[in-house]
């Protein structure tokens, strides 16, 4: 039980650290952050719009207050789910803008993450089983090369080949004319629009799974219980799948949550290229338009998402592997 308590304690402590970091980042620059931001948005020469400065202050807290008071009011706003208004989508609150984009990215990232996990683990396990075979070297070298590709570039190439040259898939957006909701035309359009973005993420992400799975599997294959299983005359298939692969899978469970951060980072680039209406494109937009309230909220959401996934993976790991509960 202490294992779970400790993991939960770490989650809360990290959550606090992340929230505090999010509070500190805009304040690292000298001067009144509200004025600086408004000035930068309006251009250097434009006169300061006091209303905008006030709106900015509402988000950042009054700079004349002590840092501590700003921090408290920041936490208060956060608890009430108040992230301020977006500049790009003025006068919509940040939360509403994010809510519209939320599911697009969740679906995209989940599909990419799950498929790359399953594909990577299977390929890695098979490569380890046939260690030093041609299959092994093709998979290891191939995934190394694919993993070094810049996801922005892969997206552009896919767009060029399958979007413009062959015309198999739409080149931008999330849907065409259908009304968003649970109706078949919309779902069809959404799938065809998200195919290329998901494919781009899929190409560059499995490298970690393949190499990680291959290495732990090779380590496991050297263990005595594998030798015993073989000596007992168990079929190869059972030794590979039920013995070695099952144990080798464990470290990948914790890796799953950490990899999510990478996929979310990749989603920013992919969604920007495909003009896909998700959180990643929103973040790219927020950066470009200097929409700080939106950027703040997205950064917090992304980090908390990874944190929650991490907690879930840790808890699952504790259930799956009794040794983890006893260790430490």
């Amino acid at each position: 039980m202490t294992y779970f308590a400790r993991k939960f304690g770490f989650f809360l402590a990290t959550l606090w650290a992340v929230v505090t970091l999010n509070f500190l980042i805009p304040r690292l620059q000298p001067g009144d952050p509200a004025e600086i931001m408004v000035k930068r948005m309006a251009g250097k020469d434009a006169a300061l719009d006091q209303a905008q400065v006030e709106a900015m202050r509402a988000m950042l807290g009054t700079p004349t207050d002590s840092l501590w008071h700003q921090y408290l009011s920041y936490l208060g706003e956060l608890i009430h789910g108040n992230f301020g208004l977006s500049y790009t989508y003025y006068p919509f609150p940040v939360t509403e803008v994010i809510a519209q984009a939320f599911w697009w990215t969740i679906v995209l990232v989940t599909v990419a993450q799950v498929l790359s996990f399953v594909g990577g683990v299977v390929l890695g396990a098979y490569a380890a089983w046939r260690r030093n075979s041609r299959f092994d070297s093709v998979v290891t070298l191939g995934s190394t090369f694919l993993g070094t590709l810049q996801v922005f570039w892969v997206s552009l190439l896919l767009l060029y080949v399958f979007g413009y040259s062959l015309g198999w898939f739409p080149t931008s957006g999330g849907y065409e004319e259908a009304t968003p909701g649970w109706n078949w035309p919309f779902i069809q359009e959404a799938i065809s629009h998200s195919f290329l973005p998901a494919f781009a993420l899929l190409i560059v992400t499995p490298i970690g799974w393949i190499l990680g799975m291959r290495n732990t599997m090779i380590m496991n294959l050297g263990e005595d219980y594998i030798r015993l299983a073989k000596a007992k005359g168990l079929p190869d298939r059972d030794v590979a799948l039920k013995y070695a692969a099952r144990n080798a899978l464990l470290p990948s469970v914790t890796g799953f949550a950490l990899a999510l951060g990478g996929v979310l980072g990749g989603a920013i680039l992919v969604e920007t290229v495909f003009d896909y209406p998700g959180l990643g494109r929103l973040m790219g937009e927020a950066v470009e338009q200097k929409d700080y309230p939106l950027l703040q909220a997205l950064m917090l959401l992304t980090t908390v998402g990874v944190l929650v996934a991490n907690l879930a993976a840790d808890l699952l790991y504790g259930v799956l592997d009794p040794r983890a509960r006893r260790a430490e």
Binding site: F152, G261, G265
Partner: protein, 317 residues
């Protein structure tokens, strides 16, 4: 001191690495080999992948150093006919604003290598200092604090954090990118170093150093660290690869250094100018390709570096 038979005061470079590598082997195997162990560069060179990686990297370094001699034009000179195809003046054609793509590509090598070198270096310094101190002080409050910091940076998604930090800063220079990449991407390496020093810190040579009255700082960085130099080198190569990728991603989003040309800014420009829709595929294709080859080369080098820290891998290299 274990490596007393080699140079007493290790100088950075060959002797330093060789001493570390010899110590490493002893630490892992607990037997001393009668033969002289291979030098660290011999071990790396023995891997075919690493050999390929080193040669490719050397070519990139030459291109970066001699860029003004190799490049036919100034990368920012927009005096050519826009949208021209490949020709003898413009080997890879021109951009929408009449700049020479080949020259941009050649000069871009400099940015990627600089960011890789310094981003990797700074990240490794941070990771080494935090990892070693935290591991050496294992179980103390200091370790708890540093480990917590490491774990926090490990779970925060790196790329979103990088673009958030860059978005808030006034200047968008190369050194900003280097700094931001360094302070966001050290955590994994710090954790690896922490666990390694925990296995080393109770060895006899450390106890001997303690009894001879050496200070903690000296014990950690002069006695123990040389024994994990392969891990430090591996994390440097990994961090450099990550830094190159991060710069390209940042620049592709339009957050790069505005005064210079990098492969990432080329991708950004080509996307912003609609190169894909106009069928200008060379403009898009080449920057990403040279980037991928460079990153594959550094990853290959790390296969060789892995052989240093894990002698068991050497058989099937």
């Amino acid at each position: 001191m274990m490596n007393a038979n080699t140079t007493p005061v290790p100088t950075p470079g060959e002797d330093f690495m060789a001493a570390g590598e010899a110590g490493q082997e002893l630490a892992v195997e607990q037997v001393s080999d009668a033969e002289t162990p291979d030098r660290w560069w011999q071990v790396i060179w023995s891997s075919r992948k690493a050999r390929v990686g080193v040669i490719i990297l050397a070519i990139y370094v030459l291109v970066a150093v001699f860029a003004p001699l190799i490049a036919p034009h100034d990368p920012l000179d927009g005096s050519f006919e826009p949208l021209a195809g490949p020709s003898s003046t413009n080997w890879l054609g021109t951009t929408t604003s009449g700049q020479d793509i080949a020259s941009q590509l050649i000069y871009g090598t400099r940015i990627s290598l600089l960011v890789g070198l310094f981003g990797g270096l700074f990240a490794t310094v941070i990771a080494t200092v935090i990892g070693l101190i935290s591991g050496y002080a294992e179980g103390t409050l200091l370790d708890d604090g540093l480990s917590f910091l490491t774990n926090v940076f490990l779970v925060i998604p790196v790329f979103p954090l990088i673009i958030t930090l860059v978005a808030y800063s006034e200047v968008r220079g190369l050194w900003l990118i280097v700094g931001v990449v360094a302070i966001t991407s050290w955590a994994g390496a710090a954790r690896a170093k922490r666990s390694q020093i925990i296995t080393l810190r109770n060895r006899d040579f450390v106890t001997a150093a303690k009894f001879s009255g050496e200070g903690t700082w000296r014990i950690v960085f002069r006695e123990i660290m040389p024994n994990m130099s392969s891990l430090v080198l591996a994390s440097f190569v990994g961090a450099a690869t990550g830094a190159i990728a991060a710069e390209a991603g940042l620049a592709a989003l339009g957050l790069g250094d505005s005064r210079s040309v990098s492969w990432g800014t080329m991708l950004y420009q080509s996307n912003a100018q609609g190169a894909i829709a106009q069928g200008l595929w060379l403009w898009v294709f080449v920057p990403g390709l040279v980037l991928a080859i460079l990153m594959t080369a550094t990853t290959f080098i790390n296969f060789g570096v892995d052989l240093l820290s894990n002698p068991h891998l050497r058989e099937d290299a």
